[in-house]
Symmetry: C2
Subunit: 757 residues, 2 copies
């Protein structure tokens, strides 16, 4: 007899809500089971058949199937819709409604006692069968997510928890004014000085700085970018590329006395920074640098702050000394007087309306023989001595170029983690709405919450899991970044690849997640008041700024296949060959036929399987792309052309590498979590993330022969099970993001439309 049929007994029905709740979190504890069984064992009024049926529902060796549980849930929902609002929160009345005339005094008493013994109050009953049924250790999860700088997060959250920090429907000028005001508030609150390198302390606490940035991204993103330009890019350029006389200015940067911008991009050269055309010629007679825009394609473009607010700019320019070009360098230039008028030789323009981030005044800069003292050269990595000679401790101009570009690494980590914050906001709104909003339902029954629909779970829950996992990956990234940055002369190449790869994956994740969330909220998601339009539009540029994602993944790919990208770019094949030899030796993961077919849940749910699977894909793709590269170089193909031909393969290898990195990082961080309940939920989230990722790339494993069809099927099934497990905990899991209510300012996050049930 199936479990479903067990419900056909009027003596069983009064206990049905209890049976459902007992299994609701997918895990009936032994104590609960024993308690229920004991209580009913000797009940004389219970027919033996009814007792047997109840016993069957409690058998831990044969738990009810998903089909049975779903059928039970339907019965409960039907009964529930027949009750008044106040009665719905009673497990007892619910059972009676289900049993109808089958209710007896004995069954009432027995059910009452059971509910009492189990310690299930009205709260639990109200939750049958809604999705708040399962409590999660929100506080412990938030502690885990907040990582090593909870005090910084608390400060930023307090700053954000103010309804005045939200805007929409304003004109460009109004938005810019708002953001200017907020930036001032941020400085007044002391947050811009908080662990700002060179200000609060001489040893920079970059980790706190980046944590603050990530947290700030729970609020308005124009403010995030505006602050990022002023402190991270402008301030960062003085700190990382300048020397003491430049670092002395950082106090004024933090206090906003000195408003700056970061003038790198040119309209003709978005991603290809090495080809910038702006020139700074050194004039030894006056000890000045003369900056010039030689043609229109060299105009500085997209420069945040340049349209209105910035008084200073760190300008990236080709440096010419004595007629010789030394590649790209950074020079500090005053572009506006205090009254806002442009300084001599400077022309400024406005980029105009953008898809989003209109609180940031992106602008254009043209230089017409602009003269600045040579002291304005940010000269940590290259100097012009008093004799007018160019000097640099880094001989290779390409190595020097990449060292300077290192300033972008911190920005990439920050933008990537801001993407994770965006995903958190979107998921919090959508999941809160989805657990309350009901549409359609069983014939004659109440409508059911959107999140009970598998297609709805599919949209939101893997995204939730990945958001958790990425959040931890960035925590590890920040730690790693801070560690490397405090070691002088550390090799930063792996760090750069990690930052670039994480940035690409996280920002695309944000774009996809906001879109899924907006669609999951239907028309409500389309209203500006519900935040998705701005979340969507503001974060969209994340995938192309601070390095276009596709370009970044090629950098990652090159770095990964050779760990020696420079020699590869200049045609050196030896590094590639060495690498291939090493990888071939690693090819020990033979396709074990047992492993290939293994599809039991225990195996599929083990982190060892997830990690090995992602690692295997990474290594295979890296090896094969390296071999293809070698073949082309052997045929004397131009290395650039060869890279072009294998580009898709290269990007796939880079993504596989990042996938593995992300899961490893997550494991590393979660290992530190002490609360066992929190850890259990994190493990489940990690499972769903890893399984969904493997499912997404199943074609690769099947084609490779490392998965038999039954294994791919097993993975798909396990993804579905993991989603079902997480759905009832969704609102608790997003609560752990610790998003201030004022940031969550979408009315639908608090469910209105229009106040049922």
């Amino acid at each position: 007899m199936t479990n479903v049929a067990l419900l056909d007994d009027p003596q069983v029905l009064p206990f049905a809500p209890i049976l459902w709740l007992a299994w609701a979190d997918g895990d009936l504890s032994n104590d609960e089971r024993a308690l229920i069984a004991d209580q009913l064992k000797d009940a004389p009024w219970l027919r033996p058949e009814a007792r047997r049926r109840i016993g069957a529902w409690l058998d831990p060796s044969a738990p009810p199937s998903a089909v049975a549980l779903a059928a039970l849930r339907t019965l409960i929902e039907k009964a529930r819709s027949s009750l008044g609002q106040s009665q719905r929160s009673s497990l007892l009345l619910l059972g009676q409604a289900m049993a109808g005339s089958g209710t007896t005094d004995e069954s009432k008493r027995a059910a009452t006692e059971l509910i009492d013994l189990l310690g299930w109050g009205a709260k639990d009953a109200a939750a049958v069968p809604a999705f708040t049924a399962i409590e999660v250790p929100t506080a412990a999860l938030q502690r885990a997510l907040d990582g090593d700088r909870p005090e910084v997060r608390a400060q930023v959250r307090a700053f954000l928890d103010d309804p005045e920090r939200r805007m929409y429907g304003l004109s460009k000028a109004e938005q810019r004014a708002k953001v200017r005001g907020w930036l001032k508030d941020l400085a007044d609150s002391g947050l811009t000085k908080l662990s700002f390198p060179g200000v609060t302390s001489d040893t920079p606490d970059l980790r706190s700085f980046m944590t603050a940035f990530e947290t700030l991204a729970l609020g308005d993103l124009s403010l995030v970018v505006k602050a990022g330009v002023q402190l991270g890019l402008f301030g960062g350029s003085l700190y990382f590329l300048g020397t003491d006389r430049h670092r002395a200015l950082l106090h004024d940067v933090a206090s906003l006395k000195m408003l700056g911008c970061f003038a790198m991009s040119e309209v003709g050269h978005g991603s290809n920074v090495a080809e910038l055309e702006t020139v700074a010629r050194y004039d030894h007679e006056t000890r000045e640098l003369v900056l010039h825009t030689p043609r229109e394609s060299a105009r500085k473009d997209w420069i945040g702050g340049a349209a209105v607010d910035a008084r200073f700019a760190t300008v990236f320019t080709q440096l010419e000394v004595d007629g010789q070009s030394h590649g790209v360098h950074a020079v500090l230039v005053r572009i506006r007087h205090d009254d806002g008028s442009p300084t001599r030789g400077i022309r400024l323009g406005d980029c105009g309306l953008k898809m989003g981030l209109n609180g940031v005044d992106n602008g254009r800069i043209w230089f017409d023989q602009v003269r600045v003292p040579v002291a304005n050269l940010l000269d940590r990595f290259a100097q012009i001595d008093t004799d007018g000679r160019y000097q640099s401790p880094i001989e290779s101009s390409s190595r020097r170029f990449f060292t300077m570009l290192g300033t972008l690494v911190g920005g990439r980590v920050s933008v990537g983690s801001a993407g994770v914050s965006v995903a958190k906001s979107a998921l919090a709104i959508a999941l809160r709405y989805s657990t309350e909003r009901r549409q359609f339902g069983p014939e004659g029954g109440a409508e059911i919450p959107l999140l009970r629909y598998p297609t709805h779970q599919r949209r939101l829950l893997p995204a939730l899991a990945s958001t958790y996992v990425l959040s931890f990956a960035f925590e590890r990234m920040r730690r790693h970044f801070a560690e490397v940055n405090t070691q002088p002369d550390a090799d930063t190449r792996e760090l750069e690849a990690e930052a670039a790869g994480l940035k690409a994956i996280a920002t695309w994740h944000a774009t996809r997640t906001v879109q899924l969330c907006r669609e999951a909220c239907g028309g409500q998601g389309y209203l500006a008041v519900n935040r998705f339009p701005d979340l969507r539009a503001d974060s969209d540029v994340f995938s192309t700024f601070e390095g276009d994602n596709t370009v970044l993944l090629q950098l990652v790919g090159k770095s990964v296949i050779s760990r020696f990208s420079k020699s590869l770019a200049s045609g050196g094949v030896r590094a590639v060959l060495r690498m291939i030899g090493k990888l071939a030796a690693q090819q020990v993961l033979a396709k074990n036929p047992l492993e290939i077919r293994k599809d039991d849940p225990e195996h599929l749910r083990s982190r060892a399987f997830h990690l090995a699977t992602l690692k295997y894909r990474e290594e295979s793709l890296v090896r094969t792309v390296a071999l293809r590269m070698k073949k082309r170089l052997d045929a004397k193909m131009d290395p650039q052309e060869a890279l072009l031909e294998i580009q898709e393969h290269l990007v796939a290898a880079a993504i596989a590498w990042v996938d593995h990195l992300v899961l490893r990082s997550f494991e590393e961080e979660v290992a530190k979590v002490s609360d066992p309940e929190a850890k259990r939920w994190l493990t489940r989230l990690g499972d769903l993330h890893a399984l969904a990722r493997v499912e997404e790339t199943a074609a690769w494993y099947l084609e490779d022969g490392s998965f038999a069809p039954e294994k791919a099927r097993g993975v798909r099934k396990e993804v579905q099970i993991a989603m079902r497990e997480l759905a009832p905990a969704a609102t608790g899991l997003v609560a752990a993001f610790g998003i201030p209510d004022a940031c969550l300012s979408a009315p639908i996050a608090f469910f209105d439309p229009a106040h049922p049930p």
Copy 2:
């Protein structure tokens, strides 16, 4: 010796540009080959070795590999960058630059003669190796795309080709005013009357009407939706649900004398229309209907036109006659006086700022015992007779409901095809930009156009191919729709499923395509002036309005697995069982081991393979989902609950069904194209679409065992080849969309940033 090495001969190099151009379209004609070979056969100055090498390049049985062609292209680009602007358009000078000192008088003369004989003028040379190299029969392709109503398209294009029809950066009020003005222009131009049912002619020319709508969607989408509400939804409701006295009003609808809206959605019931709560009670004493909003969740919401402009509304409401409810019916209600003030008992609200489409005034309506004469009941499918008795020729209330909802079918076709128009605009801008904008390039060489990057091709070209294919699928859909609608009492269920499925697939395609295009244009794509922000924001709601895509796909799935969805919804299992029997009999596509491994290009490029592959997937998914449904119904599970459990599977089956439908429709339409060159390009586009779709779902075929790994690999490789073939034709292919320049008003579509090369 490889082809690449063949280039190492200074006597070969002067002819290299000619050799490249000869192969550039992937297809060296026999005539061209013979001509070149003849011309050089007896050249006495040519060393036998050099002659042999040239001959090897021209061997049709061993065409140059992709690697060889790419290497040649690199050499050409390098030479090209050494030439001045005016010299670059000369094939001769290009060859000389490549040969350097290897150039002789003889080689010059021979090359000159060859170029002359081949009839390749400066135009071809300028195109080496840019992407305009390959000419496509744009006019013939446009004729094919324009389908059966070219004159309608021409009229709408003329209307749109006006720079005044574009806006951005305006406030909500300004946008609404603009759109109101444009709608008036549209009426003044006679376009609103054009083939408007019941106005121009009594037999409606729905095909022209829908073609006009699709073409209008090349311009501002607020105008499209505003016109769609007035003519398609409001006018359509009078035409389809009303009788003669209502149809008499259509002249005033077309002239805009009578501005209306379509009040269906309620805030509590977005997709679940059957559960609407607004009530119209029939009062026999006064022969009036009394409309009322019983609670807040019943307020009409999202109603386009309700916030400001509409004077009338078609209101969908539960009809109560003599205390008995008869389900949802439509009633014509005046909601505003001519001066714009609400009529008695009507309260109106504004939905506020939306992500996009802010030129449409979406609003809310509440009814407080609003009385209208019974004559206002749109009574084609149900009447209240003079005795106050409810009568309907359709007995089943659910059948009646779905018949009335049939009015939405036309809207779905129109929204879906508007999505295709949006994709066309986005692709036209992005592909035009990508063929001109250059970033990075070989060491020491010129930067190369974005579209030469395989990852860039991957973003844009499958989307281009699918846009073509979908465009034809909608042409067939419109024809089919018009045919069925002119047959009285035709069975419209398959038509409804087709419309719902195409709408879902096409609008998601639009969302994805605009996003890909915006990212492919980098920062430029983020500027409002370049159109992507509005294309993105305005079209985003397409996936949730006129039926949420996921909900629609479930309807499709139910319709497909049973072709009898009503009996399924009401729990009837017999239809399902019959279906399963039928499908099992069709399971003749055995997994032939030869077929499974077949991976030769000829096979992979055959439409028979594409169609059979899509069909096989469709039938397998439909069969398995039907079996799973049966299993649950056998276990006496609630049908609604059973549908919930198999929901993901059901949606997958629906998508597979639509995939097959789309390709079949494309084939049906392309078969009518007479121009052989146009047909050749359409076939290539169809190939890329089909192969990319198969590649995307490769995991399914691999898991199913119907593809061996080598076949999946073969498909992937063929996708890449198809992309390489189409890339050089991209701008010609988007030119065939016939988008007026004023609509393409993105500056980057005409390439500026900032005027290189």
